[in-house]
Subunit: 321 residues, 2 copies
């Protein structure tokens, strides 16, 4: 008989959870049924990490899962004061998305430097027009977010000859790879020196709206901006204004205040803005990798061992050791 | 009084050639006037490297420039049997284009791996559709061309986690960076193992048409192809067929049999093919860099010192030391 119940939130179920066979009963919940099923669950797997159902379900009165794992790097969708306050352990998918996102950002930055979009537009019109484009090497990037994703982005950009300044919550000196990691309070003056600003920060109360009118005004004309963190880190109206005024020479958003981005959003057709549908970290086989990562943590949970990727619920992310 | 005459071929003249002031008379030639002016020239600068005027002007009877410098990496446009046979020294722009082209190719490869084109198409239609894309790290590239451009491309792809096999004219073992550089005769079997095939070879009698039906048939389904060498290295009809049949999952051409690409070329609208107007190496300030490179070589010429970047006219490129 299975010892425990794993409740999986998500209508698009994960690949077969092989390691759980015979050891756990796997029950699938929809957002609408989650609250009713929670008391029966030992473990909750947030396979659908775009739903607000978990934060809506907390506080849970009576029995509830002791462990919630989310198949995402960001935990902003599920953390709520009640979940932060209780003793439920939250883990995330740290380790899965870093390298794919770093490649994606490197591709975006190169595509902007080389004006691939401009060439595509001309190709559609069968129009041959040579332009001079930018060297990437020797330019300077400010990467906001000093967790694993920001670090991977920074490492990849450095491999392409970009100088990189990493910005985290607090200043840290002596980072073996990035020297001094700057504090978020010091961000404003750093923006004026950047050719590229990449947002790879977690969404927390401290980072919400980080990129608003003041931040864009602090960037130097011709700067380009990328957001692969979470949509609410960016004031989208301010971004559009910065693009329209020419302050920003280009931008790429993979995440949005509202996802899917509504068809009537002005973002779709803002000149210089590249829109992609929250896919920067999702490379072929990612669901299998996410499932395997959960299974491995389940083994640890079943054995009473400490879990990997435990989120500091007050900070809103897994602290870097 | 100036000692010598530098004839500049090109209607779009180079930035002011400061170092020549007082030491050389600079005369500009159009393709139509080149032959008449050649006997007056000590040095010929092929600033317009897209013209056939130089190959058409040779053999030159009587006085002629002892040195021809081309503001390009490839010398295929000017070399002809008569120029190969006489004692005129030919130099090229080696050193200017390598790193920009390597960045461009890295960008193309990432753009294909991450399907930026697919996202752009959907953006135009305001259509949100998540897709899984490819990891670049761990894939395998065959880079054809073991000169400075091929090496720079290979180095940059390696920095992104791609394994790289370099293919040159002859096999060379013990390359510090690439191990064994393969011989062009061994290319065919290598193609079957490649996720990416990048052509960065010079155009010579030995390489013309290198990528024809057999080469594309030897690639594995799903392979992607990039040409930043010269158009005639590729059989364009065979490339289109390989894309249409699905043998190739994508391709990017920066160079073409005919440039500018005519508006009625089928290449403009071949699905999966990205067309850019021969600009992979041309980053902001490239004309100034080219002019400075010529001036530096002119200093050496005026001082009777050996020139940099002397082309082996029989091989058709500057041999790697």
């Amino acid at each position: 008989m299975p010892d425990s119940t794993v409740l999986v939130l998500g209508s698009d179920p994960p690949p077969k959870l092989d390691r759980l066979t015979g050891r756990a009963r796997v029950v699938t919940a929809e957002p609408a049924t989650l609250a009713a099923l929670l008391p029966t669950a030992d473990v909750l797997l947030a396979w659908d990490f775009t739903s607000d159902a978990i934060r809506d379900a907390w506080p849970v009165r009576g029995p509830r899962p002791g462990w919630v794992h989310t198949a995402s790097a960001g935990v902003d969708r599920l953390l709520c004061p009640a979940l932060v306050a209780d003793d439920t352990v939250v883990t995330n998918a740290r380790g899965v998305f870093e390298q794919p996102i770093a490649e994606y950002v490197a591709g975006l930055v190169l595509a902007m430097a080389k004006d691939f979009h401009g060439s595509w537009e001309r190709q559609r019109r069968r129009h041959w027009e040579h332009r001079d484009t930018r060297r990437l090497a020797g330019t300077h990037a400010v990467v906001v977010g000093s967790g694993p994703i920001g670090r991977a982005v920074g490492t990849t950009l450095k491999a392409l000859g970009v100088t990189v300044e990493l910005v985290g919550r607090r200043e840290r000196t002596g980072d073996p790879q990035f020297g001094t990691v700057r504090a978020a309070e010091a961000l404003r003056p750093l923006l004026g020196g950047a050719d590229w600003v990449v947002c790879a920060a977690p969404l927390t109360d401290a980072t919400r709206g980080l990129f608003g009118p003041e931040a864009f005004a602090a960037m130097r004309p011709g700067c380009r901006f990328v957001n692969v963190g979470r949509g609410p880190l960016v004031d989208e109206d301010a971004l559009v204004a910065a693009l329209r005024s020419g302050r920003l020479a280009g931008a790429a958003l993979d995440v949005f205040q509202q996802e899917p981005l509504p068809p009537d959003s002005p973002l779709w057709q803002t000149p210089g803005l590249f829109v992609s549908p929250h896919m920067s970290g999702d490379t072929l086989g990612w669901r299998e990798v996410l499932a395997a990562q959960f299974e491995e943590n389940f083994d640890r949970w079943a054995a009473g061992e400490p879990l990997h990727n435990v989120v500091d619920k007050r900070l809103g992310y897994v602290p870097v050791r």
